[in-house]
Point group: C2
Amino acid sequence: MAAYQRLPFRITEELNDVANRIRLHVVTATNRAKGGHPTSCSSIAEILAVLFFQVMKYKVSILKDPCSDRLVLSKGHAALALYSVWAEVGLFATTELVNFRKFGSNFETYPTPRLSFIDVATGSPGQGLSNAAGMAYMGKYLDKANFRVYCIVGDGETCEGNFWEAVNFTSYYELDNLCLIIDVNRLGQSDQTPVGHDCDVYRRRFDAFGWHPLVVDGHSIDELCKNFHNAHLTKGKPTVLIAKTVKGKYFPDIENELHWHGKHLGERSEHVSKSIKKLIRNTAALRISHQKPAKDAVPRVHLTDIRLYSAPLYKFGDKLTTRAAFSAALVKLGQTNPRILVLDTDCKNTSYTNDFQTFDPSRFIQCFSAEQNMIGVAVGLASRGRSIVFCATYAAGLTKAFDSIRMAAISQSQINIAGIHAGVSVGEDGPCIMGLEDIALFRTIPNCVIFYPSDAISTERAVELAANYPGITYIRLTRPAVPVIYSTRQEFYIGKANLVKENIKDKILVITSGVNLACVLEAYEDLVKINIFIRVMDPFTIKPIDKDGIIKHARECNNRILVVEDHYMEGGLGEAVKSAVAGEEDMAVKHIGIKSIPSSGQSCDLFEHFGLTSTGIKNGIGELLCICNPCL
Amino acid sequence: MAAYQRLPFRITEELNDVANRIRLHVVTATNRAKGGHPTSCSSIAEILAVLFFQVMKYKVSILKDPCSDRLVLSKGHAALALYSVWAEVGLFATTELVNFRKFGSNFETYPTPRLSFIDVATGSPGQGLSNAAGMAYMGKYLDKANFRVYCIVGDGETCEGNFWEAVNFTSYYELDNLCLIIDVNRLGQSDQTPVGHDCDVYRRRFDAFGWHPLVVDGHSIDELCKNFHNAHLTKGKPTVLIAKTVKGKYFPDIENELHWHGKHLGERSEHVSKSIKKLIRNTAALRISHQKPAKDAVPRVHLTDIRLYSAPLYKFGDKLTTRAAFSAALVKLGQTNPRILVLDTDCKNTSYTNDFQTFDPSRFIQCFSAEQNMIGVAVGLASRGRSIVFCATYAAGLTKAFDSIRMAAISQSQINIAGIHAGVSVGEDGPCIMGLEDIALFRTIPNCVIFYPSDAISTERAVELAANYPGITYIRLTRPAVPVIYSTRQEFYIGKANLVKENIKDKILVITSGVNLACVLEAYEDLVKINIFIRVMDPFTIKPIDKDGIIKHARECNNRILVVEDHYMEGGLGEAVKSAVAGEEDMAVKHIGIKSIPSSGQSCDLFEHFGLTSTGIKNGIGELLCICNPCL
């Protein structure tokens, strides 16, 4: 790459004009919308002008061209500045910005992929660098392409733990195709940040974390250009531009003042606009234009109709864990599609994803003990349809990453998440490790599919269905081995329950999944002996739940339902079933689950404690039957 | 403090013996339990021996003496080493360790306060330093006591973001009474850590974060003692001992080897035990004893029967936000009890907790944008009954901290959490900021109380009840102003719903809270005109839900219930109600809530979109009535 050439004065002047036009758009649109974050936009105006007109390679005609450079605006509250620079580039008329924050417009306060030029939703502080790191990992190691990834974070969000997880990941994997820009404008929402304007503190922190840190004046076009060039030349480590900026730059009596976060300028708007207009030297059309990426610089990928290399082959009754089947299915998917990736948080020897690592180390990413970052990286890897990602970690550990998962949904991301060691069946490791709220969490994610497979065969099919689902999926996996209950020819569908036991004499519909099925079937055998028949349903997916199937079969079973689950009583399978039948008359649902914080112990002891053994289940059935027929 | 005196050889020898006896206990107990983490225990044996017999001041007779030094074992998987050193100190017989991991024993795999000597549950990686920082903050700024706080973290968990949030907080507040020990044993669960044994990397990172870093040999009694002394002398910044250790130290053919994480030694156990026994030089009774704390070194505190300074005084019909009432109540509690503390994540100007900061800055703690750490710090502040803590942040932001909240429950902690900007009523800020899963999350926390107050009066009473509740509470707050609907004399109880409208002719029970109540009341007025009466219930607490009240009133309203809520359909008020009536016959529940990811827009537009306006509610009522009486 050529040495840096100082920009001609004319170009610098034009870029300054772009920055100030961004400020003007922002002041006008926030004032019209009576809200937004004009001061936070103003501090990054020059950064955006330089990125969009000097540094980044992209095509306005192909917005999500996989060859293009990427930009993640982690400080999503400055979205309007980003919308404004896209208008300056010519993607749409600046007049469209009047729709900012209006219902029905995609110019929302925080950016989402509802807009054609946004890859990932941002705004929840501290997440953007993880997304950017995923994109950069894709570029460097999988696409082996020369696109670069830029990420702008606010200084306030550098307090977030997720951010430091990403900082660690990015340098560990030597993502020198990533350039981070910290907008050090000193002021958070309600207070000065802990570091304030002391950029040297950031410099030392990033240096210690293995980055190439550069302190720059974030309002100097020339300094920015020079240092972006420097970043481009840096090999073996990511670069961070620690950009010293002023919040509300060029807003008279507002700049660098606390208490102007997230406020439109109101009556000061006119004065500020006038003042900014004076800074604009050239009102004629732009003479500069941005750079374009090389054509076909990335490999073509095919992410549809992904199939297991071979059908699941397990013998009926054989006992094995759903974790093991999950791992086997990942390898089988990896055999048929080169774009299957697997992410781990240092528990591959428990999730058995080390099998995938052995199969193809180049598609296995060790994220270490940093769950938030793993999810963010997954979203980045999956963006622009570059790969199908499976993340595996402890179900309990996913409670750390729930904000990232929530934002992944707003990002319209297609990622698959497996939670191992769900439920008290974990046993001796105790409550810290038991995922007992995972279903409740994932049920709140719109359009998420929750698989809770009950044996090895259904697990493999769940993994296959997940790979093809255009959204977020969650696969609930458990520690103990469970018997194979399905035939190898069984077909599985999202939202379609399977009947494990069915008889015309059935008096109760028992709905259960996973590890609990064995105890239900034990109860079934005992009850048959005294001529009581229960219908046993395995829902396969908890979300969507098979509402029609549940209602139909409950109707055939005297409207009596028993739900048995290894999950807290709230938000899990039980409440999914209750919601499915809430609008029906005459239905009674009894529910056995976890009612208090468990302790360490063998899973059989814990099952007994919570009424999940066959005895507990028979008691539950007895109680329900008494409702219909007290003489039983 | 006196200069460091090198320990006499005799003492060093005895401390080495203690460390090796810890190893012996660990090998024996894990082998008997067929599980646990012996190699992770072994790497901290000398650290524990030195802390318990040389460094820490505490009393075995008063385990939670507020004057004593604290220890947080963040790497909770090494719990058995901690249990062993407490046995060595004489708290219980070493023979009790045979109960490790047994159902019914409190010697669980990870430590919890079910054990008398444990302050906070640990084991979810990366959280312990936040708890320790809360304790240290308490000692330095509130108790103004000279107890010190020690925290042992594993090197693997330093990848967790929560850890770096805590690192930042601890140095920002100059908590020089805190000493962190990193057990740099190089090996995680399934891989080498990113930093491995390169202790200088940790040194530079901590130095850059404003700490006093000291690299030590974690198995050298003398080096440990000297550096703990050095830490004690350090003023103005916290100290970290970066202890280079060996995983499985002194376990022949096992030490420093990968793949021995979380495994008992099995057939190698005998050989290892023999080898360790050879290291123990003195089998006679210990001649050393530990230090005791000064008596009455902390102020006495009273945390019971906490009352508002004055009753809520708002005029019926006046419109104000529940946030404002929350803030007012905090100040009123602060006026009657000096141990009320308020924690913020840089949003005090939205939660209005800046009022509390103005009232008493010494009891207000700015945690910046780091939600996980805020919750961990709160748990630390509340430990040993030293304070009543209220945390306030965005309801959406709490999704970042959910693991910390889950662990706070296992810690039996008494902390109160307020979530602002819940629901689509947030409006223009869009889905990133809208807390739409908060109720679902908190409902999964055993024994948590969820307040969802509907006006200023009920909010103040909720805050008062929360302060007195011996567990975790969540207070759901919303952005828009709502009218005062209760009289100042109204009494509120946890688990007791209030009726807002009641008539003998009521045909439907409508259950709703907060911002939705106004629209329901609007619908009520319209319906009365056509002689349709609805009973309107405000549940006040979503957990526990007033099951008896709901069933009673639903029975009086033709068994028809409509739930209206500004929350995702899953896990919120609707499902709480469905669970309450699931065992009843003939009940039908209709539910209006948020069914997809919202967008930016005015809250009225969003309400209309999701059927939450009076029109939507009337439609819902119409549909429900048709079930009983299609001719209506």
